[in-house]
């Protein structure tokens, strides 16, 4: 695989622009949750906050801070685009689909999954490099953890 295939322009752009970067809102409280995740092999860090809608069914806001490689930064940036305003159930199934993609070891995506994943499908090449999979999943791990905390928030 060429480096251009791994580092697609969309990834390089997101790594630079980092949508959703800069923490906003509350770390805890009703409908709010925050998670801090590290990748111990390289020291990458992400701290991510979510705020749920009043009825708890939608993700009203996502924000994050982090340091890390272009894969982890771009992945969390794409996450921010995908998740903001989406239903919690949809977010969970999307996260599961992205997780599957990352563990596919480079198997070709079926067209339906590719369409479903949208921009996140650009990370398909990462799955061929097992050492980088955790980079792409770091933000998503933080999101899942933050959502659990937000849904439990009193």
């Amino acid at each position: 695989m060429s480096m251009e295939q791994l580092y697609q322009q969309l990834i390089l752009d997101h790594a630079r622009e980092r949508h959703g970067h800069g923490l906003r809102g509350d770390a805890s409280g009703p409908g709010a949750g925050e998670s801090f995740q590290v990748n111990p092999t390289c020291g990458d860090e992400v701290r991510l906050r979510v705020r749920l809608s009043d009825d708890g069914t939608r993700v009203a806001d996502v924000s994050w801070e982090g340091v890390g490689c272009s894969i982890s930064q771009a992945s969390t940036s794409v996450l921010s685009d995908v998740v903001t305003g989406a239903g919690v159930a949809d977010v969970e199934s999307f996260a599961a689909a992205f997780d599957d993609l990352m563990h596919s070891r480079g198997a070709a995506l079926d067209p339906a999954t590719e369409e479903r994943l949208g921009d996140a499908a650009a990370f398909a090449g990462v799955s061929k490099y097992p050492a980088r999979v955790k980079c792409a999943l770091l933000g998503w791990m933080a999101l899942r953890d933050a959502l659990i905390k937000a849904s439990k928030g009193e």
Binding site: Y7, C42, I71
Partner: protein, 425 residues
Amino acid sequence: MLTAAELSAVRADFPLLARTVRDGRPLVYLDTAATSQKPQCVLDAEQDFYERRNAAVHRGAHALAEEATEAYEAARAAVAGFVGVAPGELVWTKNATEAINLVAYAFSNATAGRGGDAARRFRLGPGDEVVVTEAEHHANLVPWQELCARTGATLRWLGLTDEGRLDLGTLDVIGERTRVVALTHASNVTGAISPVAEVVAAAHAVGALVVLDACQSVPHLPVDLHALDVDFAAFSGHKMLGPTGVGALYGRRELLEAMPPVLTGGSMVEVVTMTETTYAPPPQRFEAGTQMVAQTVGLRAAVEYLGELGMDAVAAHEAALAQRLLDGVAQVPGVRVLGPSTAEDRLATVAFAVDGVHPHDVGQLLDDAGVAVRVGHHCAQPLHRRLGVAASARASAGVYTSEADVDAFVEALGRVRTFFGAGAR
């Protein structure tokens, strides 16, 4: 120095160096500080042991048991001789991490009263201090943190200069309360070789014991542990052309004799009753359970291989590579060396930060060119923090590394910032 012909012969001894990676690119292996590749003689020695002499050692009286025990003890003598100590001062361990933990847990056990009066000098408590340095690999830091937490002793440390060298201006951290000073002989990140003599003098002046992490020095420099006058030293086989699963702890004989055991069980005992046990003399006292015999035999082959080349020649070869690495990296815009910028008192281990590009991304681009470097914090997070970065990329050479390897690395490094558009920002 190795001649071109000698280097070419050395490279031919390492089967793995002939392979290709990532769509047929020749391998440029610059991750020797993490683990070295193995010459054929090491692979053969292990295989030969299993094919002809395999048996449990120091138990059993049959012919094979005798031969295996002989092989095991001959390996000990060879490795001990390689670092200038007596066979009875060398304890086999799984690796250097285990060796350092062995010392730390012996202190703990002595503090709990084990080993009796003889082990009194290993007892620690509140008011006592253990001194490390900011340059340490986690393996020579965390065990001491844990020992202090278990005993109530205080952990202190020597500082570093901005170039990553030990700051001798902080040597006064070693004082009357210091009981142990643990330091690396050479940093696995900066490549800086520590001024061991100065630290040993300061430690011994206050009666403290010195534990040397010699993982990065023994494979690359002539090392005489008696001449260095350290009290304990640890190194790993796999970093010095030997197999994984074997390392060694050196301890001054009188200290090993006074130390209580750590792992207990079979083959480290004298007399066992249902209520108590007396222990074998060192080194057996610290070698409980069935040992990594084939690996010790492999490590013997490794030190004999290095010995035939001559460690002075190995060190000279690698000093030239260090200079070439530093010169090469200096030519690439936007790359900062984390560690000494000159080749004096340093290994051919060069960690660096690329402006605007994360080390993982640097490593990925180099890997695509067939160049294997380490990325991350190299098990030295406090050192990276001290140098102002979270992580780095690191190129590290070994006896089999060629100038062409260095040049291929530098050439690929030159493309990194362009690819990620970092130069333009």
